[in-house]
């Protein structure tokens, strides 16, 4: 395994200028919940996975079958990369580097990084705002076509999603971060639903979010363990910096 990370494609796909969505666990598990709902509701097929010595040695078992915990799914010219496992701090650079190289090889129209942005007053927010951060002109054009997101004008982004946007820019791949206001330490299906509503601008990612809202209580309980593990990794990455104000660029 080169550099301890390998992107394995177990089934061939015939995509052309696809869209790629990334939903690693992060603030409020927003990206993970959104991509998981999309994959399950639209019946995406698992076509690959990420192997890395940075992840714990484990497999997922569901209804008697083995699955990879960090999977790559495909349907209708859309790839979704989603995971049960947060990326450990030591693995952020090598895993994101390998993933972005793989993404770039697909010649995507756009790569979406989906996640949450911590909102200390989330309890008072009924309709979370989605913030967007394009990594260049091409991604900014994609943003113009979307209804709802506000441009993320100031602040810090920390963790795999920040690295993904940066690495994509370095390699010339258009990437757009979509981050919904979310609870920092609690799974937030409401925030995930808001991101999916933004993505419903595209026919191939249009999905009914009402099951997500209706089963929100159940999901919040079900995802507590992943949230605990994710929060441990986030705290090591100084994720709370996302609540701070930058000082250099004034």
């Amino acid at each position: 395994m080169s550099e301890r990370v390998e992107i394995i494609e177990s089934k061939s796909t015939s995509s052309e200028k696809p869209m790629i969505l990334e939903g690693f666990p992060d603030t409020g598990l927003v990206g993970m919940i959104a991509t998981s709902h999309l994959v399950n509701s639209l019946e995406f097929e698992q076509v690959g996975h990420i192997e890395s010595a940075y992840f714990p040695p484990m497999i997922t078992v569901h209804e008697g079958e083995m699955y990879e915990p960090v999977g790559i799914f495909y349907r209708d010219n859309v790839y979704v990369v989603t995971s049960e496992l947060p990326i450990p701090i030591q693995g952020v650079y090598p895993i994101i580097h390998a993933l972005v190289n793989w993404m770039k090889g697909k010649a995507p129209t756009v790569i979406f990084s989906l996640g949450g942005i911590p909102e200390p007053d989330r309890i008072k927010v009924d309709d979370p705002t989605v913030f967007a951060l394009p990594n260049g002109k091409e991604a900014a054009e994609v943003l113009k076509a979307l209804k709802g997101p506000e441009l993320l004008k100031e602040g810090f982004l920390v963790g795999p999603k920040a690295m993904l946007l940066k690495e994509c820019k370095k390699l010339g791949a258009p990437a757009l971060g979509l981050f919904s206001q979310a609870y920092y330490k609690y799974p937030d299906p409401g925030a995930a639903a808001k991101i999916l509503k933004v993505l419903s601008a595209f026919e191939s990612t249009k999905v009914d979010v009402s099951p997500l809202i209706e089963s929100a209580e159940q999901l919040r309980v079900q995802y507590r363990d992943i949230m605990r593990r994710t929060e441990e990794e986030m705290s090591q990455m100084e994720k709370s910096r996302e609540l701070e104000v930058p000082g250099l660029l004034v």
Binding site: I123, K124, K185, V221
Partner: protein, 139 residues
């Protein structure tokens, strides 16, 4: 201390912390599974005036919550409106009926003046800090 010694000490500390964290995770799951009581996610923050505790308890309303506080600890016990059914170990379904948690507070508080509310299954408790010490005049 040489650089190699320092790095191996950091490595040892990381392993120790990971071990403790794994032990805590295992104990939480064992307790939950054997008791049918869920340990909720929670967050503690503080301002100069108060300690703020937020606890995520989906499915809980204010009439279901029993709170008890001392100067240094907060105890919460709450019954779920509807029983929560989760797939547990090896796919067996397990019914959970309540949440329970004891939380250590980072500063001494005045529990008599504490206020709490529940919104969308998130319980927020604001506990004013106990005032102590003496005022110092600045010359």
């Amino acid at each position: 201390m040489r650089e190699d010694d320092f790095l191996s000490e950091v490595n040892r500390m990381e392993k120790r912390m990971k071990k403790v964290s794994e032990e805590v995770a295992r104990r939480i799951k064992e307790f939950e599974y054997s008791s049918g009581i869920l340990e909720p996610l929670y967050e503690v923050s503080e301002t100069p005036e108060e300690v703020v505790v937020s606890i995520d308890m989906p499915g809980v309303s204010k009439e279901d919550v029993v709170l008890h506080a001392t100067e240094s600890r907060l105890y919460v016990d709450a019954e779920c409106k509807r029983n929560i059914c989760l797939k547990g170990m090896r796919g067996r379904e397990k019914i959970y009926t309540r949440y329970r948690k004891a939380i250590s507070l980072p500063s001494p508080v005045d529990p008599d003046r504490a206020k709490a509310n529940v919104r969308k299954g998130v319980l927020e408790i604001r506990l004013p800090k106990r005032k102590g010490g003496v005022k110092i005049e600045v010359d």
